[in-house]
Structures are given as C-alpha cells and as structure tokens.
C-alpha cells in the first residue's frame, strides 16, 4: 500500500532530515512511527502526501508519487494534522466535514449523507452543527478525525493524535483508531498509545530507521528505546524493573 525506496530529504539542501529511507506497509496494517522530537516523523508524512518532495521513490496504493498522480494520491490518503486548530478552518463541524467530499465532486446530499454516516459511527452526531471555535480540544480532535473519515480514504496518517488530550479523550481516540479498518500510519512518542493501536512499529532516529518490527518486541526493548531518547511505555515499565 505504501512504499518508500531510498527516500532522502533535507529542508535546507545540506543536512538531511530523512536519509535513504526504505520501508513498505501493506494494506490494512497499522504502523506506529516513533522517535524523539525532530527524528523526522512529520517530515515523512509530508513526503507521503506530496507536500514535500525529495529524492527517491514513493508509491501509494500502486501509484508512483509524481505530479500527475498527486491528486489521486491525496484522495487516497487522509491526514489528521497534529494541531486540529489548523485542520478545522470552516465555521462549523458540518461545513468542515463536507469540504473534502464537495471538492471531490460529491453533491451536497451525498456529502451530507457521508457526514451523517461518519458522525453516527463515531457517536458524535451532536457535534454536527456546533461551531469549531466553541468545542473542546477533545471534541475538536474527534471532529478532525471525522473530517478525514468523511473523505473515505484508504490510508490514514495521524501526526501525534494523542497530544494535548486528557486521559478520557485520549482513550476515546485510541478506541476510535482501533475501529478503523484502513491502513494506518501513526506518528507519536506516546508509546502507550502506539502499543494499544499498532501491530508494527518503525523506530526512527535522525531520519533513519533504527528498528522495524512488531510493536511487542520493540516497545519492550528498554535498551533500544533509551538509546533513542525514549522510555518504555508506562504500562510495561513495572514488569521490567
């Protein structure tokens, strides 16, 4: 579903932020992208969305990343931004949710049908006509996820989906992620959340892959994690002391 082949990228043309990166993700997989601040997680997502372009090849859903395929790729991949405030720019949740589908040619009725379906599925029907600036942070994150789901993407990217959420909202987001059948790539340093949502983990350090394997094995490896400026997930800490 997603394939990176020898991808390199740098913002300033000198120091590479992502270096010779290769990995692939199959359909339906749920992969956690972990690494310390500045490891390059967000950059990888932007490369995958064609917001940045570097060297090497990227394939998404069988399409090679290039100018012609870009619109199709962006229709395939939904991106939940780290900061929901930047994602939700229309006055109401409903208007934000129909924005994508309408741009992709759905009629108003079709788009509204999708909005209702998604909100129903997530149990958020009461948010529909609320104003984006008048809902709480947790609700906004859920609404941001809903906006993306309304576009029916095949792949969902999430950048730090649990930041700035209280425990209850965080749990809601985790449960929601687990109900999504799509291929998922989740960037986070909330390793507990990754453990709860992802079967596989890719560990990054300075733009390179340090480890790639099952979440169970990598997230239990205290030495590996600490060498990369991270800690064992809280729920595993007790057992290893």
């Amino acid at each position: 579903m997603i394939e990176f082949q020898n991808v390199s990228f740098s913002y300033d043309g000198t120091a590479p932020v992502v270096e010779n990166l290769s990995f692939s993700i199959s359909k339906g997989e749920s992969v956690g992208l972990i690494g310390a601040n500045g490891a390059g997680k967000s950059t990888i997502m932007k490369l995958l969305l064609g917001l940045l372009s570097g060297q090497g090849q990227i394939w998404v859903a069988g399409l090679e990343m290039n100018k012609q395929n870009l619109p199709k790729i962006r229709q395939t991949v939904g991106f939940v931004l780290q900061d929901s405030d930047n994602q939700m720019f229309m006055p109401t949740v409903y208007e934000d949710m129909i924005f994508g589908p309408r741009n992709y040619g759905l009629t108003k009725e079709q788009a509204e049908q999708r909005v209702d379906d998604v909100l129903n599925r997530l149990g958020l029907t009461e948010l529909k006509h609320r104003y984006n600036h008048k809902i709480s942070g947790g609700e906004k994150r859920m609404a941001a996820i809903a906006t993306i789901l309304a576009m029916e993407p095949e792949v969902i990217l999430m950048d730090e989906p649990s930041t700035a959420l209280d425990p209850v909202n965080r749990r809601t987001v985790i449960n929601t992620i687990n109900t999504l059948p799509q291929t998922k790539l989740i960037a986070s340093h909330d390793l507990d959340m990754i453990l709860d949502t992802c079967g596989r983990v890719i560990l990054l350090s300075h733009g390179k892959i340090v480890a790639d394997g099952s979440a169970e094995s990598i997230l239990r490896d205290r030495v590996l994690l600490e060498a990369n400026r991270m800690e064992l997930p809280f729920c595993l800490q007790g057992r290893h002391k």
């Binding site: 932007k46 969305l49 917001l51 619109p71 962006r74 229709q75 991949v77 991106f79 931004l81 900061d83 405030d85 930047n86 994602q87 720019f89 229309m90 006055p91 109401t92 208007e95 129909i98 924005f99 994508g100 309408r102 741009n103 992709y104 040619g105 108003k108 104003y131 600036h133 906006t147 576009m151």
Partner: protein, 267 residues
C-alpha cells in the same frame, strides 16, 4: 491579553453571523456583492456639497440591517477601530475651503464644513454596506461569487487565505503576549526592546500555521475553486433585489429626492 482574544472571538463571530438565516442571508452572494459594490460606487460619486442627497443613501444600510436581523449598533461596535480613521479623512476641509454656502442665523456654513461631513458620511456608509455584506455572506461564498465573475482563482484564494490568516495571526499574538506577560509581570504591553523579535516570531509562527492550514485545504482537494460553498442558482428574488436596489440608488443619485419631497409638502 483580554483585548486580543476578544478580537479573535469577534472574527469568529462574524462567521457565525454569516451563517444565520434571514431574507438577506438567503440572497445569492453574487447579487449581494454587486449591490454592495454598486452602492459604494454611487455613494462615493455624490458631489461634495450634495449633503441632502447623500443622506438618502443611509436608507439602504438601515433597511438591510433591519431585514437581516443584525443590529446596527453591532456594526458600529465592530468597526469602532476603523471609523475614526474614516472620519478623520475630511478634517482638514473646513480650513481649506471657506466658500460660504448657507447662512443659519449668524453662523455661516462654509463649503469646507459641508464637504467634510459628506466625506465622513461617504466613508461611514461604505463601511456599513461592506459590513453588511460580510455579516450576511460567508467569506467562502463571497470568493465563490468572485470566481463566478471570472476573478482569477489565485486572487480569490489569496483573499480567502488573508481572511483566515488574520484569524491565525490573532491567535498567535494572543499566545505570545500571554507568554510574554507571564515573564514580565506588572508590565503594560510589550517593551519596545522586544518588539523586533516579537514581530519576527509572530510572522514566522503565523506563517507556519497558515501554511499548515493551507495544506489542510489542499489535502482535502481544494484547487482554487469553491465547489463547497453552497451557492444556489441565481433566482428571481436575487434578480429583483439587485434591480430594485440598483434603481433606488440611481434615483437617489440623479433626482434630488429631499428637494422634491420638500416642494411636494411645502407646495
């Protein structure tokens, strides 16, 4: 800082106002845009001494505010920062133009005074009409209407982003001034020595955010066209509204209505 978060929520409130329902809200954005532009053009075109004719132009905003259910007071409140500027434009006129126009008892009204007042009124009326447009039409719908008039997509996108950028920038200003005042207790505003870095930071931060916001639009299929802004086709009501308004503005401009009324009643 209270003032800023206030300004920010006011901007959001404009969006909320635009989402309300009234006969004016329901009109086609294109017709509202045209009427507004035409109104401003006619208002501005009044000769500088034609005070009584200009006064008739107040009817449009006043009536439209009534129909749309938006209190006129709200308009002046929201525009309180711009209004003095607009009013200041003509302040020099009384000193420059001493042509006597009217004798009220012992007071001579000079051309300068009259032209000052008409200039101020022109500014205030134009602002009221623009406010009315923004308060009854979403920014997306306005952009969509502009696109219908074949304004290039790049310009409308720019307009839309500027509107959103102001909001984003206000939010950043709020956050930054809060951070600043926490570390500079008891200090009013921002010390002049910090202005440079403050402004630089602000620009960078709001640009980053605006970029994110724009990518969020692009990633959801935005390409400079406003398919999503729901615009129903131009219907009879819209046509009627445009025609009636345009005719009324023209009449007010061509005929001396106050004079006619006066002679009608006085005989």
């Amino acid at each position: 800082m209270d003032k800023l978060s206030h300004a920010q929520s006011e901007l959001r409130e404009m969006d909320a106002l635009a989402a309300e329902c009234s006969p004016i809200h329901a009109l086609h954005p294109l017709c509202k845009l045209l009427v507004t532009v035409f109104y401003i053009a006619v208002t501005v075109s009044f000769p500088k001494y034609n005070f009584s004719g200009l006064v008739m132009m107040v009817l449009y905003p006043v009536i439209a505010f009534q129909v749309s259910g938006i209190p006129v007071g709200l308009c002046f409140y929201k525009l309180r920062l711009v209004l003095p500027l607009v009013c200041a434009v003509g302040l020099a006129n009384p000193f420059l133009d001493h042509t006597p126009l009217l004798q009220l008892g012992t007071i001579t009204v000079t051309g300068g005074v009259v032209s000052m007042v008409t200039l101020m009124l022109k500014g205030v009326f134009s602002l009221m009409a623009s406010f009315l447009l923004i308060a009854t039409t979403s920014i997306d719908a306005i952009c969509a209407a502009l696109r219908k008039l074949h304004v290039p997509g790049i310009l409308t996108t720019l307009l839309l982003l500027t509107y959103r950028y102001i909001g984003v920038m206000l939010e950043e200003v709020t956050v930054m001034t809060e951070a600043y005042s926490l570390r500079a207790p008891g200090q009013k505003g921002i010390h002049i020595s910090a202005w440079g870095s403050f402004l630089g930071q602000l620009l960078m931060r709001s640009m980053d955010r605006a970029e994110e916001l724009y990518s969020s639009m692009v990633l959801r299929g935005f390409n400079g066209n406003f398919f999503y802004a729901d615009i129903s086709p131009f219907c009879l009501n819209d046509l009627l509204y445009t025609a009636v308004c345009a005719a009324a503005f023209l009449c007010a401009r061509i005929f001396d209505i106050p004079g006619l009324l006066g002679s009608f009643f006085v005989g």
